[in-house]
Symmetry: C2
Subunit: 122 residues, 2 copies
DNA sequence: TTCATTAGTTCATATAATAAGAACTAATGA
DNA sequence: TCATTAGTTCTTATTATATGAACTAATGAA
């Protein structure tokens, strides 16, 4: 498993653009929606199963890192696994309704069109 | 002034990740907040005055393009200017509360810390 | 213990995206 | 006709992303 310590930004350093950026990738958004729906921890391997098709685990690992550094999830080592959960209460206090509105909007939308691949922004 | 036709995606093609991406840049978020607050059109030059410091107009032009292609604004040529306005009603219908929640959250937040420069996401 | 397995991280690199100065273009108005 | 204004497009240096390969740490046998 990995090595370096896990850095979680204090909630004061979490920003709106940072959150939006982290959630602007369909895979990360799917991971976060899953975390929100199941209201429990998720690890990389479990997340890989959520995302349709085969996403390399190195890519998945980086997506978790981005979510962590944006302040959206908290990760904790549990044996060989890395359990991640949403920082829901903190985020709700600092940015009321923001996360939930985004996730619910996406949930509704993604029932129609499932986006798997990275989106080209150009 | 420019030349090529302005492409506005139909609202059906507008996505949540696309909107989040477009708003994940502090400058674009500032532009959109300004558009939302003044409830009228804004052009590139006026936007440049909103953003503190000197942003090259080529960069500003590209930001407007990204907002346009994400489906957040509609642009219309008026003489030499390009008047842009929010697609507020359409967005509200397709993604209720999404845009307004993001903008209000950011407005509150940006009263504390004003972010001018592009944010490094790594 | 030692070794294999599991779960994830880090590295290397090819590809894509961004910022910004320079050159360019279209609409006005002297 | 020419200068001005307001953007756009081009070019290039920098930065970011995806992914396969190599690596590492925690467990669980044998």
């Amino acid at each position: 498993m990995g090595s370096r310590p896990l850095n979680h930004p204090p909630i004061e350093q979490v920003t709106v653009p940072g959150i939006l950026y982290a959630l602007s990738d369909p895979i990360r958004l799917t991971i976060v929606v899953t975390l929100y729906q199941q209201k429990s921890c998720l690890n990389c391997t479990a997340a890989l199963k959520q995302v349709r098709g085969k996403l390399p685990k190195s890519t998945c690992s980086q997506h978790f890192q981005i979510l962590r550094e944006a302040g959206i999830i908290i990760c904790e080592r549990r044996g060989v696994e890395l359990a991640s959960k949403l920082r829901l209460a903190e985020l709700e206090t600092k940015f009321p309704k923001l996360l939930v509105t985004i996730l619910k909007t996406h949930q509704i939308e993604s029932k129609k069109t499932l986006t798997k691949k990275r989106v080209r922004h150009t």
